[in-house]
Symmetry: C2
Subunit: 263 residues, 2 copies
């Protein structure tokens, strides 16, 4: 997973600040993906806290989309606890604040037999029966460069059953394994579920919250992206992620703006 | 709703700070409830932004539980936009940071016919068939003073169908109406769904995210609190809220610590 790890690396500039370089490859319509930015903030938060290696929760508000290129991350440790630390991180570019996020950090265990889980993973057609979404996806009018960096396979046959939901797979190239930080990216790597409901534009995220629940097993991720409620201009979506051993490893929710095509 | 409004009021102390008085009545085991604290932060955020009356999203990390009594709120406007503003707010007490939250503020519409919604509200027995949870609830070993301030009625007959889920009603006294800020409280006003799974202790919240999706109609709220995954020490829960006209008005998710009794 050199690609993602390199593209989300941060270099310490000061006690509480880091430099980073936003990669033009991890973009949607030329702008860095929101989950990609969250992963960069997580790396800075983890390095600053120094005690807990994994994000347990990550909640971000998206203020202003940065461009690819240099950016700065500032971090404040809010609580340094024994089993968890809590950290705030901010990404800014040219004195413009772009994203701010709150993290709970801890140490995750492998996804073993859960004490209790509410549901089994949903059915998704086999990976080799699904095509990888191209970076110039038909109907979007948008170049999604990040799709050249990983494999996203959507079960289009399953769309509509139930409505408002997209299911599929995410796989990193060269057999690279997902980890808790790249799961933050995975939680925002699917198209908006509004695609299945007549809106084919991209949806700018206002807020994204991801809970990483376990270390993922090697292999592809099974993803379900589900729209909850569409009002005039906003949609809230739930994204659930299972690892290759069918264990739930992340649960995310996002509030985004969307547009319906003029009818 | 004088009780809740008074109990969550903030008094401006400076351009970016407020004084507040944490009410001993809105507590669980003597500590102010997490949703109650989130509502206080929202009031300070809304007053500081000055342009957008409603919380659209609220995401908080809980650092250290404050005691009832005086506390301070500091606020920073991160983005002042046309359709939405984004604000960070921090609650501290005696120089200890207790809660920090990120808000997206906007103007909500009444919950009309939705463009699309993923599911109808779940069945709950009629309010008058259910008893109001007492503040000294049997089996909790905990005094939940806030339960004397509003009516919480849980459909205990429905527990187990499906497992991991609690459903019921929330009503304010004297016919008071719920509003977007008190919905932030409502999203954390139910017992943890772990009650249905063999753990009867309270669950300290690490992170709580609430999306308020519409202005609620007058009347009681229908609530579903659902556990997603229990690992060794953490549970993530989803809380959904419908108004008295069966419209979804809030969707929340929370990550909390819990303990199973020794078996």
């Amino acid at each position: 997973m050199a690609g993602f790890t390199d593209a989300t690396s941060v270099q310490r500039a000061d006690d509480d600040s880091f430099d980073t370089d936003l990669d033009p490859l991890w973009t949607v319509g030329g702008k860095p993906n929101g989950g990609y930015l969250l992963a960069i903030l997580a790396r800075a938060a983890i390095e600053t806290a120094g005690t807990h290696p994994d994000p347990l929760s990550a909640s971000a508000v998206y203020l202003s989309p940065p461009d690819p290129g240099p950016a700065a991350v500032t971090v404040e440790v809010l609580r340094a606890g024994r089993s968890a630390s809590q950290v705030r991180a901010r990404l800014s570019q040219k004195d413009r604040t772009c994203v701010e996020a709150l993290f709970t950090l801890g140490a995750l265990a492998a996804a073993g037999e859960p004490r209790w889980v509410d549901a089994a993973p949903p059915p998704v057609a086999a990976e080799d029966a699904l095509f990888a979404t191209p970076s110039q996806a038909p109907g979007t009018g948008l170049r999604i460069d990040m799709l050249d960096q990983f494999e996203q396979r959507i079960d289009w046959q399953a769309v509509g059953d139930p409505p408002g939901e997209l299911r599929g797979w995410l796989r990193l190239p060269d057999g690279a394994a997902w980890d808790p930080v790249s799961l933050l990216f995975a939680a925002d790597a699917f198209p908006p579920a509004t695609f299945t409901l007549g809106s084919n534009g991209w949806t700018p995220t206002l807020e994204l919250t991801v809970y990483v629940r376990a270390l993922p097993a090697p292999g592809p991720l099974r993803v379900r992206q589900r729209a909850r409620l569409l009002t005039e201009s906003l949609v809230d979506q739930v994204c659930e992620i299972w690892d290759a051993e069918d264990r739930i490893v992340a649960q995310a929710t996002q509030l985004a703006a969307y547009r319906m095509p003029a009818s």
